[in-house]
């Protein structure tokens, strides 16, 4: 008789339950081979709300920053901050800060193996801190350069081009790319340039709050704020910042007094570094407007306290707890009850998820932990002990782990992979249960059902199918079996993401590639063509990844690059996996479903080197409100391939085909990415409301006018276009600047005809 059908500890279970509320007549059913009762498979709710990145409730946020330094009695200053924030809407700064977060995370994970394998310790940070100190020093020297030039000037006194020239000079002195560059220093210089220009514009408009202000004090304040910004970057990368600071931008903006209208559509979710950048922007804007030393001091104090906060090493404890439990699972006698070990493990998982902490507080943390531990202990009984974990390791090794190059770990009867698969199963189950609303956690039967269901789903992800019951219907894949392996592998056992053991071969037709939209606003077809594809279908391999609590894309980029003996990959190589993409690429839509963490994929063409450079965003939108009329700039950034195609068509005088090329590029972007970009810009200043529909309308109108402008001005643009396509700079940028009669016209989607500027290279000013 199977032990699971009756394995109930009737004496122990009720202790954890509300009196009389629960008779555990059918404690959790195991999904493993040998279970006698099939798991019921009720309709499972979509699990998207279980992702780690769930940022559902702004009410949980408690910003360490002030809720706004602008006195409500000072509407002029508030208006000025609003206008300035809009002017600072270049997303490149947020992207640059996020890139720093990713690089710091990657550097930490790749340096980990050369340090102590004491798993109780935090990952090493010394090397990363030294690297960041170098960036901070460069940033300070850059700002000092500006202070020396402009400290005794007012923003409105700066002549056209003067600021840009000195900014470029300061960047060159640091060996950094110029203002059009993508790196942090270039982005910081641009950001500061936009603030100074914005304040100058406001002063010229007669805003008295900023009139005749010298730039020196602002420079000095920013020189003190930047190191705190960079410390916060490290804290995010190391996952030490308290959860409140890692909230989403919308909620954070609300806490900072940047009120969003209740009907505003959800903007695309922001990465933690982008959130931090927005926070920095808001404080910078206030600092630029506030001529008050006390307020400036307060801003500085807040920044410094933000940079110094520490989340208490939850990730290090989770690393250690995973390793401990894996060892306990292996060392235990077959059939052992590991309830007490699980009671130690569960809090470590929960501590990494603030939302779980909140729920548990309501029900009673200890009781819940004991109950979950007991339920899980029953479910894993048959897999405890060296023999069972070794068998599991062997079964996992058969699932194509050769592709992950883990041969050494499979040698000599290792049990680690098997034990870790069990730990992952348990961890995902705990996380799923922890995401239940508190009222559900108070219902033991509901809780038991949830544990059973979540465990079955997690087991289907982490265990080879032959270890599971044939009637289990929780599998993500059809006709294949794969498992998710903790990565990066190494003696330190500090895992930062999971990788699917199966690498999916894909023959990507042009039509399929065209249907897959990437983060940069382009399609997979455009990416393949940009990288030199000449024939279809493209034979490729698709690698899949899953995030853990604390995962940054920098971890994936660094670890995956190092595994192949190369430097870090570009984070832009990792695209978020959806069911549609999973279906199109390798016909496994189940893998695109939201699971325990976010899923990403990377398309690799065997034998072809990776992308030569970071992929560029194809459209950049800027909204400028510091002038008398709203202005929207749309930078259309053509890839090198597109630029050369334009050059060829110009050479052939093929005007109709040229307009068709632009039409295809512009309308594709207008449909795919312009509405989202517009919403992100519009949501920054308060007072502007744009629904999804209005954003689409505006995007459509802008797209049509861009095409019309190209068609009307093609002959006049010809020489500039031809020169730009021949320039050594990669790609070209067509900047379309739209004026609007007023904000109502902006919201109504009624732009004026645009002016068009053509420049070589990619710009976003």
């Amino acid at each position: 008789m199977d032990q699971y059908s009756t394995a109930v500890d009737h004496e122990a279970a009720p202790e954890a339950l509300a009196p009389g509320a629960y008779a555990p007549e059918s404690i959790s059913l195991s999904p493993f081979v040998g279970g006698v009762r099939p798991l019921s498979a009720p309709d499972r709710a979509e699990t998207g709300d279980r992702a780690y990145e769930d940022r559902g409730s702004a009410s949980l946020l408690a910003s360490p920053f002030s809720t706004g330094l602008i006195d409500s009695a000072a509407p002029e200053a508030e208006t000025a901050v609003t206008a300035l924030l809009a002017e600072m809407g270049d997303e490149a700064f947020g992207e640059a800060v996020q890139a720093l977060v990713d690089e710091a995370a990657g550097r930490q994970v790749t340096s980990a193996e050369s340090w102590s394998s004491d798993r109780a310790a935090e990952l090493p940070t010394g090397e990363v801190e030294a690297w960041m100190a170098g960036i901070a020093a460069q940033a300070d020297q850059l700002l000092e350069h500006l202070e020396l030039h402009f400290g005794d000037r007012t923003p409105e006194s700066l002549s056209e081009g003067e600021l840009e020239a000195v900014l470029n000079e300061a960047l060159a002195a640091q060996g950094a790319p110029d203002l059009s560059g993508e790196g942090f220093l270039s982005a910081l210089a641009r950001r500061f340039g936009s603030v100074v220009k914005g304040v100058g514009n406001l002063a010229r408009r007669g805003i008295t709050a900023v009139a005749t202000r010298l730039l020196g004090p602002l420079f000095r304040l920013v020189r003190q704020m930047v190191p705190s910004l960079l410390r916060s970057v490290l804290s995010i990368a190391f996952r030490n910042l308290p959860a409140e600071v890692q909230a989403d931008a919308t909620a954070l903006a609300a806490k900072l007094g940047i009120t969003l209208p209740s009907g505003a559509p959800a903007a695309p979710s922001a990465a933690p570094g982008e959130v931090l950048a927005e926070l920095f922007d808001s404080q910078l804007a206030q600092a630029a407007i506030t001529d008050n030393q006390a307020m400036a001091d307060q801003l500085l104090n807040e920044w410094e306290s933000a940079g110094a906060q520490d989340g208490g090493g939850a990730m290090a404890r989770l690393d250690a707890a995973r390793a401990d439990l894996a060892e306990q699972l292996t060392a235990a006698a077959p059939g052992s009850d590991l309830s007490s070990e699980l009671e130690q493990f569960i809090p470590a998982v929960m501590a990494a998820l603030p939302l779980i902490r909140t729920g548990i507080g309501i029900y009673g943390r200890d009781k819940l932990v004991r109950l979950i531990a007991r339920l899980l202990a029953q479910l894993i009984k048959s897999l405890t002990g060296m023999e069972a974990t070794q068998a599991l390791t062997r079964a996992i090794a058969d699932k194509g782990l050769g592709l992950l190059r883990l041969e050494a770990e499979n040698a000599a009867g290792s049990s680690q992979l098997g034990a870790e698969a069990l730990v992952s199963t348990l961890e995902d189950t705990i996380r799923a249960v922890g995401h239940l609303p508190p009222e559900s956690q108070e219902q033991p039967l509901r809780l038991q059902a949830e544990v059973q269901e979540a465990f079955a789903e997690a087991a289907a992800r982490h265990m080879p199918s032959e270890m599971l019951r044939a009637d289990l219907d929780a599998h993500e894949m059809e006709g294949e079996s794969a498992v998710w392996v903790l990565m990066p592998r190494g003696s330190s056992r500090r895992y930062r993401y999971r990788k699917c053991s199966m690498i999916f071969p894909a023959h990507v037709s042009r039509q399929v590639a065209r249907a897959i939209v990437l983060n940069d606003g382009g399609t997979l077809e455009q990416r393949f063509l940009d990288e030199g594809t000449t024939g279809w279908p493209v034979t490729a391999e698709v690698h899949l990844y899953e995030t853990l609590p604390g995962t940054h894309l920098g971890h994936l980029a660094a670890s995956e690059g190092e595994r192949h003996g190369a430097g870090p990959l570009e984070t832009s190589e990792f695209e978020e996996l959806t069911s549609q993409t999973a279906s199109l690429l390798f016909n496994q839509p189940g893998l695109g479903r939201a699971a325990a963490g976010r899923r990403y994929y990377r398309v690799v063409i065997p034998g072809r080197p990776g992308p030569a450079r970071k992929r560029h965003r194809r459209a950049v939108v800027r909204l400028i409100l510091t002038g008398p009329r709203p202005v929207m700039r749309v930078h259309l950034r053509l890839s090198e391939r597109e630029a050369h195609r334009v050059g060829e068509l110009l050479g052939q005088r093929a005007d109709v085909r040229l307009v068709a090329v632009f039409r295809s590029l512009i309308l594709g972007l207008a449909q795919r990415s312009l509405p989202g970009r517009i919403i992100r810009q519009v949501r920054r200043p308060p007072g502007l409301v744009l629904s999804d529909e209005q954003a689409r309308t505006l995007g459509g109108a802008i797209g049509e006018r861009m095409v019309a402008a190209v068609a009307a001005q093609l002959r006049a643009m010809g020489p500039a276009l031809a020169a730009a396509t021949r320039d050594p700079a990669p790609g070209i940028t067509l900047t379309f600047e739209f004026g609007f009669a007023d904000r109502a016209a902006l919201i109504a989607g009624s732009p004026d005809a645009p002016s068009v500027t053509i420049r070589p290279g990619w710009h976003r000013d």
Binding site: G532, P609, R641, A643, H644, E648, T725, D727, P728
Partner: protein
């Protein structure tokens, strides 16, 4: 047999077993030592390979060593049993032979990979790897064939060479995992010999060589049986020359002339069994390719000078006679090579697989003119038109020999960038 005789036999057997055990221990240790591939080439040199090539080479090498270790382990068991010491000894000698074969293989690749210890050379060679494999892929893919990975290495001497992918290695059993192409230092300024060598791989994979040999023999047979048979025997080298011409146009011809140049005796000497046409004929054939596809040009001057140097004063040696016959037949030979439909190309002629007109000096100049300075900075063009850009860069020193050193440096920088190890910013600075 006396008791003492039996004892003597037993003692003898034991002694032989111990001797075999000691000998086997020696070879097992030697075989085990081969398993560390970082001894074959330094980790820095391995890191200079593109990941796909590195994995493929290491996997194949590891498999070879593993197979030999397995054989040694089996032999160990046989020594223990030692039913037939002579048989075991023969197998031991076979193991030793196989060890030496394996060592030859590993030494070959170790030497090839080891030329990448210097980071600058590694970056340059990686660029050549990419150029060679991309050019093969470009031609083979439409024919439904996969191009192999390419490992380029550097050595001294005059001529380039290739160890084709999938040919049997020195052990006579295992195939070469990559196409290993030897480039020579003196030719780095005009490295178009790379495409002569990939031409061998191309001809092998498509099955072109045999068909071309028949075609050449067919068109020349009516002129001279001897001439026809010679050209038949040269078909593999002719195919490689035509391949390089189809991809790069004129610049490979000048590089070839520099390599095969010599005294009149040398350039007219026919070496029995040599798959290469003798130098005068080879140069005249290549210039004829240019003339018939591009019209008049500097190749005519080269042809005239070679004829004046070596043929006008030559007597009636076999070489001179055959060269004169060849000159009369050049049009037919070029036609057979480039315009005759071939089964290897699914019934199409070579020029439809690799159109030489795209590599004419005028077409390359047009490419360079349209792209402007972006020609050497664009990563897109480097992937889309790598061979034509290389051909144009190699041709610069021919058009402007006074600044040849500058052009060669520019070519090296561009090839290095193609390998993905140089920041495009450096190239942009150069272009500016």
């Amino acid at each position: 047999v006396s008791r003492s005789g039996r004892a003597g036999t037993v003692t003898e057997l034991t002694a032989m077993r111990e001797q075999l055990t000691a000998e086997l221990a020696h070879w097992r240790y030697a075989v085990d030592a081969l398993a560390d591939l970082d001894v074959v080439a330094s980790p820095e040199a391995w890191a200079g390979l593109e990941q796909y090539v590195r994995v493929r080479l290491r996997d194949r090498m590891a498999a070879l060593v593993t197979a030999l270790r397995l054989e040694a382990a089996q032999l160990d068991a046989e020594v223990e049993a030692a039913h037939d010491p002579d048989l075991v000894h023969r197998r031991l000698l076979r193991l030793r032979r196989r060890y030496l074969q394996l060592e030859t293989i590993l030494d070959f690749y170790g030497h090839a990979i080891g030329t990448r210890t210097n980071p600058e050379v590694a970056a340059l060679l990686r660029g050549f790897d990419t150029l060679a494999s991309d050019s093969l892929e470009e031609l083979l893919r439409p024919l439904g064939l996969d191009g192999p990975p390419v490992l380029v290495y550097l050595t001294g001497g005059l001529g380039a060479a290739i160890l084709r992918a999938d040919v049997r290695l020195w052990d006579g059993a295992n195939p070469s995992p990559v196409a290993a192409i030897k480039l020579t230092r003196q030719n780095l300024g005009c490295p178009t010999s790379l495409f002569h060598e990939t031409g061998h791989q191309f001809a092998h994979l498509t099955g072109w060589t045999g068909e071309l040999a028949d075609a050449l023999a067919s068109v020349l047979g009516r002129r001279s049986v001897e001439l026809a048979e010679l050209w038949r025997s040269w078909a593999s080298e002719v195919a490689a020359d035509v391949h390089a011409f189809g991809l790069c146009g004129w610049s490979p011809v000048t590089a070839l002339a520099n390599v095969v140049d010599g005294s009149t005796d040398a350039v007219l000497r026919i070496i029995p069994g040599d798959p290469h046409p003798f130098p005068l004929v080879r140069v005249l054939f290549n210039t004829a390719l240019c003339r018939m596809w591009f019209g008049a040009g500097p190749w005519d001057v080269m042809a005239r000078i070679w004829v004046d140097r070596h043929l006008s004063r030559a007597g009636s040696s076999d070489g001179a006679s055959l060269a004169r016959l060849t000159v009369e037949a050049l049009e037919d030979i070029v036609d057979a090579c480039t315009r005759r439909p071939m089964e290897a190309f699914h019934g199409r002629p070579f020029h439809e697989v690799a159109d030489p007109r795209r590599a004419s000096p005028a077409a390359l100049a047009d490419l360079a003119g349209t792209a402007g300075p972006s020609l050497v900075t664009s990563t897109y063009l480097a992937r889309r038109e790598p061979v034509r850009i290389l051909a144009w860069l190699a041709g610069r020193s021919l058009e402007d020999p006074r600044h040849a050193a500058d052009h060669w440096r520019a070519l090296r920088r561009w090839v290095t960038a193609v390998g993905g190890l140089q920041a495009p910013a450096q190239l942009r600075a150069d272009a500016a």
